[in-house]
């Protein structure tokens, strides 16, 4: 029976959400193609994780090794190459996460396995694999097919598929495979985790956030944004380009490489809505977006949209908020 491999992702003793997102989609694919769903987990002391995976997958392959305590793409590549050659899965699924991005292309190249990255949908069409992905920062969708092969590989965008525990649980069989690593990986070593220096503001605790992006154009416009946030009683947050330019510190960044926020109000100013940012704010109660570009992806996530130059809106908005506050008192 054909197999579908899902690589489980875990960090610092925690299994990551993406793992169950992948397993849920993979289970659907496995049922359609009559394949066996197989979760693969590499690490040190991962038996508890293996039990959680067994609720989703028919089999769980675990490889335990003290050398796998922390993720190392080179170690993973060597072990997975061996497992893939032995089991010949029709499809190998990884997350398009910092780990998947580090590992999948190299693993695919080592095995000459056709790879599609950052996919948002996937389907077997006969024995070819069709994927949907995005280009140009989410402005265009692409349907592509992979070159015909016995094994395909994909990385899946985070938060694309909603995890759903199978009922009844799959009660999969856990198989422990001895580690094939004979020595430490000397060319690439994990040293430590690094946390950014703690900042003064916790954007995850704020009830109202004003999120600013590339559209604010110039650092000279920052006081205007701070002013609006202050008037609204909100905290200023931002998308990645603002942190890259050094206009706000790291701890104000919303998104996959920053913080996940869930305020009552998220006012997005000049933010296009790249998925990395959207991941961090899409669960906000009320999302209002102001952007000049009517096709900006942010409008697919916002409750209310304004297609206009934000510099025309912000001063008016500040005045109206002040008026509303004055009426209240």
């Amino acid at each position: 029976m054909a197999k579908i491999f899902v690589l489980a992702e875990h960090r610092q003793g925690q299994i990551r959400d993406i793992t169950f997102e992948l397993l849920t989609k993979a289970r659907e694919l496995a049922e359609k193609t009559n394949a066996e769903l197989c979760a693969v987990i590499l690490g040190k002391n991962v038996q508890e994780h293996a039990k959680a995976l067994a609720e989703y997958a028919k089999t769980v392959i675990t490889v335990e090794d003290p050398k796998l305590e922390n993720f190392n793409s080179e170690a993973y590549k060597r072990i997975l190459s061996k497992l893939i050659v032995e089991h010949k899965p029709s499809l190998v699924i990884l997350g398009h996460t910092s780990y998947g991005v580090e590992l999948a292309p190299r693993l695919a190249a080592a095995l000459n396995t056709p790879l599609a990255t950052d996919i948002i949908d996937i389907a077997f069409e006969g024995d070819t694999l069709a994927v949907t992905r995005q280009m140009y920062g989410g402005k265009v969708n692409v349907k592509a097919v992979l070159r015909k092969a016995d094994t395909y590989m994909v990385t899946v965008r985070q938060a694309t598929f909603t995890p759903k525990k199978p009922e009844p649980p799959a009660n999969g069989q856990i198989i422990t495979v001895p580690s094939p690593l004979t020595e430490e990986i000397s060319e690439k070593r994990f040293l430590q985790y690094v946390l950014p220096p703690p900042g003064g503001v916790d954007i995850t605790a704020a009830e109202k956030l004003v999120g600013i992006g590339r559209g604010i154009k110039d650092q000279a416009n920052m006081p205007l944004m701070e002013d609006l946030a202050k008037t609204l009683g909100a905290v200023l947050a931002c998308s990645r380009p603002i942190v890259d330019k050094g206009w706000l510190p790291n701890d104000r960044q919303v998104g996959s490489s920053g913080k996940t926020v869930k305020p009552k109000l998220y006012l997005a100013l000049g933010i296009s809505g790249a998925f990395q940012h959207v991941l961090g704010m899409k669960s906000s109660d009320l999302i209002i977006a102001v952007n000049k570009d009517p096709k900006a992806p942010i409008f697919s996530f916002a409750d209310y949209g304004v297609v206009e130059d934000l510099f025309k809106i912000v001063p008016s908005l500040k005045n109206k908020i002040n008026e509303a506050k004055a009426q209240k008192t």
Binding site: N70, E102, T117, E187, F299, I321
Partner: protein, 262 residues
């Protein structure tokens, strides 16, 4: 320290209205402004800074038609010493895998201690070319690199993980690093730099010079074959507010007030 920087000449699309062209397989590029891929811009800056500190050379490489020379000129103006443009109609349609093969065919003939490129390209967004190239060259790599500290024969790099966390790795050189935006602050190009860059030679190589076969490159040599492009379906559409800025602001305040947030 000899450094190779791989750069891509891409259209700026963040604020542009995109149209899908009549083939349905690509966007209509007429009227779009092209520049160095944003992520590669940081890779270039990092390379030049390393050269300024440790000495050595920076070689910029791109794959693309004649107009991509403006991106190579930018690299030269910013401090790259040499530039190579790989160009051939047969390269059209190359995915990350075929692109890595083309880059590999040339880089394997050069001396390097470090290869730098952007963590992804703003157009295709595969985030895959770097690690594939590293595998072909059989050198270690790291992606989403936010910090590079060089030692003797090794580098310490910080990689971005999710949620603001980073991991620090030690990697043996020569190595390939795919860098994230924000690793540095790319410099402006001086007039002097531009003048000097105009005089530097750009080496141009075609498929025949790479030693690759026609079937190695383009769509034939790719893993991924684009069938069609389309505008993403709207899952949820914002309710658009219209009017003068004052009218819009008043409506926004009403909405925010109705939720008890003012």
């Amino acid at each position: 320290m000899d450094i190779i920087v791989c750069v891509k000449h891409v259209p700026e699309t963040a604020e542009a209205e995109l149209k899908i062209d009549s083939s349905g397989k690509t966007i209509d590029k007429a009227g779009l402004v092209f520049d160095i891929n944003e992520w590669d811009d940081y890779a270039l800056e990092e390379a030049v800074r390393i050269k300024e500190r440790f000495g050595g050379t920076v070689t910029a490489i791109t794959i693309g038609p004649q107009d991509s020379e403006s991106t190579l000129r930018k690299c030269l103006a910013r401090g790259a010493d040499k530039a190579i443009r790989l160009t051939d109609p047969k390269f059209e349609g190359s995915d990350a895998y075929a692109t890595a093969k083309i880059l590999h065919s040339v880089i394997k003939t050069l001396h390097y201690d470090l290869i730098l490129l952007g963590a992804q390209a703003g157009d295709t967004g595969n985030a895959a070319t770097g690690p594939i190239l590293a595998e072909m060259l059989n050198i270690p790599h790291a992606t989403m690199v936010k910090k590079i500290e060089l030692g003797s024969g090794i580098a310490k790099v910080n990689r971005e993980l999710e949620g603001g966390l980073e991991e620090q790795l030690e990697i043996r050189l020569p190595a390939l690093f795919a860098v994230s935006t924000g690793i540095n602050e790319p410099r402006y190009v001086s007039i002097m730099g531009i003048r000097k860059a105009m005089q530097k030679e750009i080496k141009v190589l075609s498929l025949a010079d790479t030693g690759l076969a026609e079937t190695d490159v383009g769509i034939a040599g790719s893993w991924l074959n684009i069938e069609r492009l389309y505008v993403p379906p709207v899952e949820k559409q914002a309710e658009f507010l219209k009017g003068t800025p004052d009218e819009i602001a008043a409506k926004l305040v009403e909405i925010i007030k109705s939720k008890g947030l003012i």
